[in-house]
């Protein structure tokens, strides 16, 4: 194997090493935060590619659409991660999987947002909600207020019309 060209990424040939996806994702091998942000961007890119696919697509097809400079295992890692987040679905086709988006980027955002809203009972102190919860009494009072306002509105309209 000594005749291999230099500079080939370790993940490029046959069975890639475990370090390959990491090395590919962080590009120039930046610090931790660059890698993490890179992952988020790659996930979005892979999702976008799946959205443009005419139907369920294989990982190889996704890799080609992303320019082909990513290792196959990297694409697989990202797809599995998206699958764990329920952002994509997969079906078996022979020995490989075919992938399709369960939801788009917005769907992914909505999924994560729901996790924050459901998992943080104290969120109202940070995220200011448009309206807070109503009690049964409040609901009655509110309906009465809105009805009266609507009546007054139609009253003034009639007055203007006549």
């Amino acid at each position: 194997m000594g005749g291999k060209p230099f500079g080939r990424p370790p993940g490029g040939a046959g069975k890639p090493g475990r370090a390959a996806p990491e090395a590919q994702e962080c590009g120039a091998g930046g610090p931790e935060h660059t890698r993490r942000r890179g992952q988020g961007q790659l996930e979005a890119q892979v999702l976008a590619a799946l959205h443009r696919a005419p139907g369920p697509a294989g990982a190889g097809w996704v890799r080609e659409r992303l320019g082909g400079d990513l290792a196959y295992t990297t694409v697989m890692t990202i797809l599995s991660r998206l699958h764990a987040k329920q952002a994509v679905t997969r079906e078996r086709s022979g020995r490989a999987y075919l992938w399709s988006p369960a939801a788009d980027e917005a769907g992914l955002a909505a999924l994560r947002m729901r996790r924050v809203l459901d998992g943080e009972p104290d969120r109202d102190a940070v995220l200011t909600s448009f309206v807070s919860a109503l009690s049964a009494q409040d609901e009655q009072l509110l309906r009465a207020l809105l009805d009266r306002a609507a009546d007054e509105d139609s009253g003034t309209d009639e007055a203007r019309g006549g």
């Binding site: 988020g40 769907g107 909505a110 994560r112 947002m113 969120r123 909600s129 919860a133 809105l146």
Partner: protein
């Protein structure tokens, strides 16, 4: 320093009448600013005095790292009931600081998690419309830059479930309301009041007062932007009813004897524009309450300062050079 060191711990009581009365007599903008300022000053003074008592209390503990002279009878004579007060102050300050730090951390964590959730949508597409049937709308405060991640601007996150059930004008009012939260930096007031409540539980009632005042302020801004108070009232009311119909099993929600915040907001929007004065007229209950609160806050600041200087002088005299 005498008994003055204890006063800032109880003077927050003077802020409670104005917290109740401001809603009816002041513009929500003035209410928010006044109550936030009161909470911040009273909270700081109360923590400072607790800190002074902790110094006196710690000096009496065996094996403490403070100079030996700090446990002299002259120092103890400066604080009434020095032994009991000093010993009680240590756990109190520890609890106050722990709860405050936890609150601050939770604030940052929720903000960061929400920004990460919205990162999937490019920042240019504000408001972030999320494909979710549950109706909700939130203003997400801006996050400053930290080592390792860039600053994030404040964003508005609204679910498709909410947008689909409001009409176009109501949606405009909703966005104006959330936008006002972001531009007026309401989350800062909310956090300040929250932390004040952590360090002195007597300040807890200011939390709900400021939370309500910021909502009212955003409502008034929205009404000004869309130019229609009735429309804004309808948007708030309908959004609340939509949310309630989407989540009918809200067992934990306790119905108090007074109407909740949403009906009060709608009623206020259907009423006249609140007066823009920054201070209630002097010879009314609200004016007197505001005066009491201002006097209490000034007294609290003076007492804390007096106690700090007095203790400094006593400790300096007791420290062998």
């Amino acid at each position: 320093m005498g008994v003055f060191v204890f006063l800032p711990l109880v003077l927050p009581l003077t802020a409670l009448p104005i917290a109740r009365l401001a809603e009816q007599h002041l513009h929500p903008r003035a209410t928010t600013r006044l109550l936030t300022l009161l909470a911040a000053v009273l909270g700081l003074c109360s923590t400072l005095c607790l800190g002074l008592l902790v110094v006196v209390g710690t000096a009496q503990l065996p094996g403490n790292p403070l100079p030996d002279g700090w446990s002299d009878p002259e120092v103890r004579a400066a604080v009434p009931f020095a032994e009991v007060a000093g010993a009680a102050a240590i756990p109190l300050l520890a609890a106050a600081l722990t709860v405050g730090a936890t609150t601050l951390r939770r604030h940052h964590r929720i903000r960061a998690r929400t920004h990460r959730a919205l990162d999937a949508l490019p920042a240019g597409t504000d408001p972030a419309v999320l494909p979710d049937d549950a109706p909700y709308a939130y203003a997400v405060p801006a996050a400053p830059a930290r080592p390792g991640r860039p600053a994030r601007p404040g964003r508005i996150a609204v679910s498709r479930g909410m947008l689909e059930r409001l009409d176009e004008d109501e949606v405009r009012a909703l966005f104006a309301h959330e936008h006002a939260h972001l531009t007026c930096r309401h989350h800062r007031s909310l956090l300040a009041v929250r932390l004040a409540g952590c360090v002195n539980p007597l300040l807890l009632p200011l939390r709900s007062a400021v939370a309500f005042a910021t909502e009212r302020w955003a409502d008034e801004e929205a009404a000004r932007v869309v130019g229609d108070r009735r429309l804004t009232a309808r948007a708030v009311g309908r959004a609340a009813l939509i949310q309630r119909s989407a989540a009918p099993v809200e067992l934990a929600h306790f119905a108090g004897p007074e109407p909740g915040p949403v009906p009060r907001r709608v009623a206020a929007l259907l009423g006249p524009v609140p007066p823009a004065r920054p201070w209630p007229p002097a010879l009314t209950p609200a004016g007197l309450a505001a005066l009491v609160a201002a006097a209490g806050t000034a007294a609290s600041a003076l007492c804390a300062l007096n106690a700090a200087v007095a203790l400094f002088v006593v400790l300096k005299a007791a420290t062998p050079l």
